[in-house]
């Protein structure tokens, strides 16, 4: 700082100060080259200004002298007001999902799926959408710290030089690198190189949400690791065993798309039939035609009976009757059947299912086996070994990159205690967390949007991750960090990534690289089919008998916070969980029977203990859960997650990895949980809202579910615009995944309100997914229904607003004029669908979110104003302008929800054009209007849900 404390006259003058330039260049690598080229002076000044801010001058109370000139000549590729798009990928637990990041004036403002990417096909999951908020998170790590005190790059490099010497001397003995699962070719290459230099060093891959069982099962079945690529569009019969097929399996967006393509009888030749058996409801189970509940014991029996039935043709006694039916249906559909099992089932079950799938002719038809994408290791064992080595003092240097073991390692291991025995430990992390608090060094990691990297999808397809913005702070790329352990001045991340791909792309590198960046995929990188053969003993595997405990804890990732890495993301915290509709909390999920037994109501405190560890948390009654299971959702209860996530919910990791029988007691106390659902669990008029029928019923009377003729009107006003915007929502496709909700939130600058305000029922989501149960609470059917503004042609909201703040436009959109709204809230009263949201407080103003993260095309609403879905009016306007410029009718518009939806449940477009997709869907026999009796003529209609249960009279063999 001393070099900057003297007076200086202008930035130009300062730029000639060699001392300052050295420092600035150190922190802003681009600065040197910018200074070198005279015509790039503008950029140099910008970088300098940033460097000055970084150096602490920005906070001084005197303004720089001289004249500052704004960037009058903008970069050539940026047109003010028009977005730019750059492809990248969102990497979760190793597997990449292609995204395209939308920029306005150089700032990322929205994430879209990449249609060219096999794991996305244009869709995104909730995590990819919420990445935006993570990138701009004000809680991000921004400084290097040693034991919590600030340090800097040069100290770090000095320390690393010492470490390099020490590690080199011991050939890497005592050096451990801990990462999550890695598919990045560059990182893998670097790690392999490092391990070659330091042969005694060890690289441990571990992630809190383990897929070990899947990998081990494949090895048991085929003798070596393979991965699955499912083809659900080719499957007529699917049997999902505790499966994460539609929610979190690598490639789940793709699977959901394929799954949905066979679910609407008006568009598919033959509807698929889905059976699911699971201890606790999953998304796959919720959309299944037959869902069966089975606790660990029963599930074991089911798997054994299934294996016996399919592999040996013999029937076992004991399992429930329905297993026979499933076996019959599966075998009858040879080559068109598929069994899928989730990562929580033991490896032997996976091996058995591999054998069953081979027997059913699934391989080559409904699934393919490929060489593994992720670096195959046995994570749990490796972590246990690491902790043992740490405890015994064998580890002297520990590098933890993008992993949070101090929080998420199973409680039985006591990772944090073992960490104290390590001399030198360094955490590289984007957000400060428990591990960065516990290690000696903590280094801010470059967010994936700030650096170059690469990653691979579930099928092996590689994507180059390009930076989306200049680094906000002063981070270190994961590639640089790793290289710093082998050389003092490693190549920049870009060079490291390019080095990897130069060898792979060969001569056409320049063109191939540019093409890979532009399209977001590196063509031809998908893993080839594996020609492994099933080991003969695969079908004779016996899954271990479940422990004979009266209660089993199922540790599952929270559907939105995953293993806890998204705990500081307010969008994900406040996103109602698909089935429970809970926000900001993770109560223990208990089955209705157990709740009755313990006299529990939602929110009553219970104490769950295993061995000597126990956690007291509220209970939540989960319909459709096995009575002998209690579900502990992981990812909550972090203490150092940041201002949003710290202290939200309860941490169940301490209970993981412990032996002994779990027990559950009711303790005194009751808390109110922030649930967005307030009606009786079982609602007997669901059929009115989510119209549904079985396939047989539909075939008998296809018209039965449609709305039918409109009711009479006294007066009808017809919009006279050239287009008639409308939407159709296919309830057969909706899997309740919430991607649309968070996409809508990102697109439309929808504020989060916080737990207290959710409890007071003031959440702001414009689009919500209603979940209804039908049947008994023990084993109900569940139905999802996305509800957004219906844009009624006869909109009840419009007639009651005294100031005309909500009106119809010429293209049939019910628009909200925020500036005119005085907040009488009459419109919300009069809305039968209750899709309007009111700013009771200045929610947007109070949000901890930089304004540049918002969508500049959408007004940010102030206090006292009503708001609601606008059909993404800004996107329509954009399309309209484009069409006007080209003098053609307005073309395709994709709303944010539609774009994000993995199953294409939403169709939006111009209803007036009979050839448009939306017009076609509205002609569907299943098309109906919600609350048709209100006669509001909604522009949003639904396609009724058809289920395809096996008809009782259909004999075995279909």
């Amino acid at each position: 700082m001393s070099s900057l404390s003297h007076q200086w006259r202008s930035l130009e003058q300062l730029a000639e100060d060699p001392d300052f330039v050295t420092r600035a260049v150190q922190e802003f690598p681009g600065l040197a080259e910018a200074l070198a080229s005279p015509h790039d002076r503008r950029r140099a000044l910008k970088l300098m200004a940033a460097a000055i801010t970084m150096a602490g001058l920005g906070g001084c109370d005197w303004a720089p002298e001289g004249t500052l000139i704004s960037a009058v000549r903008a970069p050539s590729n940026i047109v003010p007001g028009l977005p730019n798009f750059y492809a990248s990928a969102n990497v979760l637990d190793g597997y990449a999902t292609g995204v395209v990041v939308k920029h306005q004036m150089g700032r990322p403002i929205k994430v879209e799926g990449n249609p060219r990417h096999p794991a996305s096909l244009g869709a995104t999951d909730v995590f990819a959408q919420a990445q935006l908020l993570d990138f701009y998170d004000p809680d991000r790590a921004w400084a290097i710290t040693v034991h919590g005190s600030p340090s800097d790059q040069s100290d770090l490099r000095t320390e690393l030089a010492a470490q390099r010497a020490k590690i080199a001397e011991s050939r890497g003995n005592g050096f451990r690198i801990l990462t999550g699962a890695i598919t990045s070719p560059t990182l893998t290459r670097q790690l392999d190189a490092l391990l070659a230099i330091y042969p005694e060093a060890r690289w441990i891959q571990w992630q809190a949400i383990s897929r070990d069982n899947v990998a081990k099962g494949a090895v048991l079945a085929y003798g070596k690791p393979v991965e699955l690529v499912l083809k659900l569009d080719a499957a007529d019969v699917i049997f999902a065993i505790d499966s994460d097929l539609l929610s979190s399996a690598p490639g789940h967006l793709r699977f959901a798309r394929d799954f949905a393509s066979r679910r609407n009888p008006t568009r598919t030749q033959k509807m698929s039939r889905v059976y699911a058996v699971e201890p606790t409801p999953t998304l796959s189970g919720s959309v299944a035609d037959h869902r069966f509940i089975a606790g660990p014991d029963e599930l074991h029996m089911v798997v054994m009976a299934l294996a016996a039935g399919i592999l040996e043709g013999s029937a076992l006694s004991g399992p429930p009757d329905w297993v026979g039916q499933v076996i019959a249906d599966l075998t009858a559909n040879h080559g068109r059947a598929l069994v899928h099992v989730g990562p929580d089932q033991p490896p032997e079950t996976h091996a058995l299912v591999h054998a069953i799938n081979e027997k059913l002719g699934a391989r080559g038809n409904t699934l393919e086996l490929i060489a593994p994408v992720a670096y195959p290791v046995e994570q749990a064992e490796e972590l246990a070994d690491l902790v043992k080595d740490m405890r015994t003092g064998k580890v002297s240097t520990l590098l933890i990159m993008d992993s949070n073991p101090a929080y998420a390692a199973p409680g039985g291991l006591s990772f944090a205690a073992a960490l104290k025995r390590v001399d030198f430990s360094l955490t590289l992390t984007v957000l400060p967390n428990e591990t960065s608090q516990a290690t000696t060094w903590a280094v801010p990691m470059a967010h994936p949007w700030e650096t170059w990297s690469d990653g691979r999808a579930f099928d092996g397809t590689a994507t180059i991750l390009q930076p989306q913005a200049l680094p906000l702070y002063d981070p270190v790329s994961i590639h640089t960090m790793l290289a710093l352990f082998t050389e003092p001045a490693p190549a920049a991340a870009l060079d490291a990534v390019q080095a990897t791909w130069k060898t792979r792309m060969g001569e056409d590198f320049e063109q191939g690289w540019r093409h890979a960046l532009a399209s977001g995929v590196v063509p031809g990188t998908a893993n080839s089919k594996s020609d492994v053969t099933l080991r003969p003993d695969a079908g004779r595997q016996t899954p271990p008998e479940p422990a004979n405990h009266p209660l089993t804890i199922l540790f599952r990732p929270d559907p939105h916070l995953w293993d806890g890495r998204y705990a500081n993301n307010a969008w994900l915290q406040e996103l109602p969980r698909p089935l429970t509709k809970l926000t900001w909390d993770n109560p223990l999920l208990v089955a209705p029977e157990r709740a009755e037994q313990l006299k529990l109501r939602n929110g009553d405190m219970i104490c769950l203990s295993v061995g000597d560890a126990s956690v007291t948390a509220p209970a939540w009654i989960m319909p459709g859960q096995a009575a002998d299971c209690v579900v502990a959702l992981l990812g909550f209860g972090e203490q150092h997650a940041g201002t949003v996530g710290s202290g939200a919910g309860f941490d169940f990791y301490p209970l993981a990895g412990r032996a002994g029988a779990p027990s559950l007691q009711k303790v005194s106390g009751h808390v109110v949980l922030a649930c967005t659902d307030h009606h009786n669990l079982i609602f007997d008029e669901t059929r009115e809202y989510v119209r549904h029928a079985t396939l047989a019923e539909y075939n008998k009377n296809p018209q039965a579910l449609a709305t039918g003729k409109p009711e009479p009107h006294l007066y009808r006003w017809k919009p006279k615009g050239p287009a008639a915007w409308a939407m159709s929502v296919d309830l057969n496709a909706c899997i309740g995944c919430n991607a649309c909700v968070v996409a809508c939130q990102a697109e439309n600058n929808i504020p989060v309100v916080g737990k207290e305000e959710v409890i007071r029922e003031r959440e702001m989501h414009w689009l919500r997914i209603d979940r209804y149960y039908e049947g008994s609470p023990i084993d109900p059917d569940s139905y999802f229904q996305p509800v957004l503004c219906m844009h009624c042609e006869e909109a009840p909201c419009e007639t009651v607003c005294p100031v005309g703040a909500t009106v119809h436009d010429s293209e049939g959109i019910n628009v909200m004029v925020y500036n005119r709204c005085i907040g009488t809230r009459f419109c919300s009263n009069n809305c039968p669908y209750k899709v309007r949201r009111f700013n009771y407080f200045a929610f947007s103003h109070e949000e901890q979110r930089p304004p540049e993260a918002r969508n500049p095309d959408v007004t940010v609403r102030g206090r006292g104003v009503m708001e609601k879905c606008s059909f993404c009016l800004q996107r329509i306007a954009e399309a309209r302008i484009a069409a006007d410029r080209e003098n053609r009718p307005v073309g395709e518009v994709r709303t944010a929800c539609q774009a994000a939806c993995p199953t294409q449940a939403f169709t939006f477009g111009n209803m007036a054009d009979p050839d448009s997709e939306v017009a076609k869907r509205k002609r569907s026999l299943l098309d109906y209007a919600l609350l048709a009796d209100q006669n509001t003529r909604p522009r949003v209609t639904y396609e009724a849900r058809i289920r395809n249960p096996k008809p009782p009279n259909e004999g075995n063999g279909g």
């Binding site: 659902d677 307030h678 009606h679 009786n680 609602f683 008029e685 669901t686 009115e688 809202y689 305000e757 007071r760 029922e761 003031r762 959440e763 919500r768 209603d770 979940r771 209804y772 229904q785 509800v787 009840p796 007639t799 009651v800 607003c801 005294p802 100031v803 005309g804 005119r820 709204c821 005085i822 907040g823 009488t824 809230r825 009459f826 919300s828 009263n829 009069n830 039968p832 669908y833 209750k834 949201r837 009111f838 700013n839 009771y840 407080f841 200045a842 206090r863 006292g864 104003v865 009503m866 919600l930 609350l931 009796d933 209100q934």
Partner: protein, 472 residues
């Protein structure tokens, strides 16, 4: 009848003294008071140098509550309507409940003073000043709520149809706009009517006041009324015209309040029954509030000569009639819901009568329908304690009724996914009781500084009395 001796005992202790219980065959004005003595008595109350002790005691809670109202409003403007308990499905809460409640109370006063003026009913003369004062302050309390209710209250004037640079008009299809017009008209004409009725009395006060400042004050307020024939002629015509305007306003303002609800397609509101239903409720609460004010004032200000058993009898009968009308409306409410057979309506209704807030509905029925049935008995109509209790019950019951209408309907809307609940916050209650304080403050100030009985009309009554027989 046990408490009549008791109340007699209390009267004897009263510093004002000379109390007489209301009796069955009382005339409208008791014999013994002449034009002069009446004027003396009424003027004396107003022109006292020092206020009564009870007045000061009553002022304390009124001022405290009004102060609380001011604080609640300032905080509301600072923080936003989120400080209240309203939420996503229940977007309307106490502001609307309290508004409807107060405006209903107000209309009772107008009914007595305007409608019965037109029908030339004698007993009105003793009550109309108190009733009108009640109307003015109840309407004022009601009038502030629609503005507080707004999300952006500083833009309330956008409801006026005024030419503006945005060339925007209000939306004339909205019941809320007509409601705004109706209240505005009603408040404005209530104040006018009240003030016009005061002018001759203010002139009397001017003439009787001894202190110079009082002479000036009342003189200015009397607007130069000197009692010339021409002035009287013009005065009577104007008063008659205003009364003719006011009488239908009672019905219209409350019908429009009813239409605020009926005009919405909301479950439980969408009923053509609402306008008359609201008028019935308004009359009931109006009569109850008049009785609640008249009984203590009669004692405290020794108005036994002018407010007699006859008044109690009539007011209680009116109370009973309006309670019966309201009972009919409640019955029809239930009937139409089950006759109509709409699922959401039925769910809402069964939630209302048996759900978690069912007690509110049954309290409404008890206080508004069951208790007023006591008024069938002639002797009970003269039992002041009992009347006070019943009237207080009706005032509470009417508030509960509005709570049922607003909250219970909104929390059970068409889609089950949008069901919700409502929990009032401290600020909700502070605003409600704050306006009670404001109302009390207004009444107390008027009792202190303005004649509580319309002297000039009373003089007319006393003049006519001998002709009509003293023992009527």
């Amino acid at each position: 009848m046990t408490d009549i001796p008791a109340s007699n005992a209390r009267h004897r202790e009263s510093p004002i003294g000379g109390s007489r219980p209301p009796l069955l065959r009382d005339p409208v004005v008791l014999p013994g008071s002449s034009i002069g003595s009446m004027t003396d008595q009424i003027c004396a109350i107003t022109l006292r140098e020092r206020a009564f002790l009870w007045w000061w005691i009553a002022m304390i809670p009124a001022m405290v509550l009004t102060g609380m109202l001011v604080a609640a409003i300032l905080y509301l403007f600072y923080a936003g309507v989120g400080i209240w308990g309203i939420d996503w499905p229940v977007v309307w809460g106490f502001a609307i409940i309290n508004y409807v409640w107060w405006i209903a109370i107000a209309s009772g006063g107008t009914f007595i003073s305007a409608l019965f003026f037109l029908t030339k009913v004698e007993w009105r003369t003793s009550l109309n000043r108190i009733a009108e004062t009640m109307t003015v302050f109840a309407a004022a309390c009601a009038g502030i709520y629609p503005i507080l209710h707004l999300g952006r209250p500083w833009l309330f004037y956008w409801l006026f149809p005024f030419p503006n640079t945005m060339t925007l008009w209000p939306q004339f299809r909205s019941p809320l706009l007509w409601d705004f017009f109706a209240i505005f008209t009603y408040v404005a004409s209530s104040i006018l009517f009240w003030y016009l009725g005061l002018i001759p009395d203010l002139a009397t006060m001017r003439d009787r006041a001894e202190a110079r400042r009082k002479q000036i004050l009342y003189g200015v307020m009397a607007l130069g009324f000197r009692g010339s024939d021409r002035q009287w002629r013009h005065y009577h015509v104007t008063y008659g015209v205003l009364a003719a305007i006011m009488a239908p306003l009672v019905i219209s303002v409350h019908s429009i309040v009813g239409l605020d609800f009926a005009g919405a397609a909301t479950v439980g509101w969408h009923s053509t029954e609402f306008p008359p239903f609201f008028v019935f409720g308004a009359l009931l609460s109006g009569f109850a509030m008049v009785l609640l004010l008249v009984i203590p004032l009669r004692h405290l200000l020794s108005l036994e000569d002018f407010i007699t058993g006859r008044h109690f009898d009539i007011l209680c009968k009116m109370l009973l009639v309006s309670s019966l009308c309201l009972a009919y409306a409640y019955m029809m409410d239930a009937f139409t819901i089950f006759y109509g057979g709409d699922y959401a309506d039925r769910t809402q209704f069964s939630g209302k009568i048996s759900g978690s807030y069912a007690v509110v509905y049954w309290v409404t029925i008890l206080l508004n329908v069951v208790l007023p049935q006591l008024m069938w008995f002639r002797r009970l109509r003269l039992n002041q304690t009992l009347i006070m209790l019943v009237c207080f019950g009706v005032i509470v019951g009417m508030w509960c009724e509005r709570y049922t209408i607003v909250v219970m309907s909104l929390r059970r809307t068409h889609l089950a996914s949008a069901w919700g609940d409502f929990h009032a916050t401290f600020w909700d209650w502070a605003t409600l009781f704050g306006t009670v304080g404001l109302f009390g403050l207004g009444i107390l100030l008027c009792v202190r500084f303005l004649p509580v009985i319309s002297m000039f009309e009373m003089r007319g009554l006393l003049q006519r009395r001998p002709r009509e027989g003293e023992n009527r």
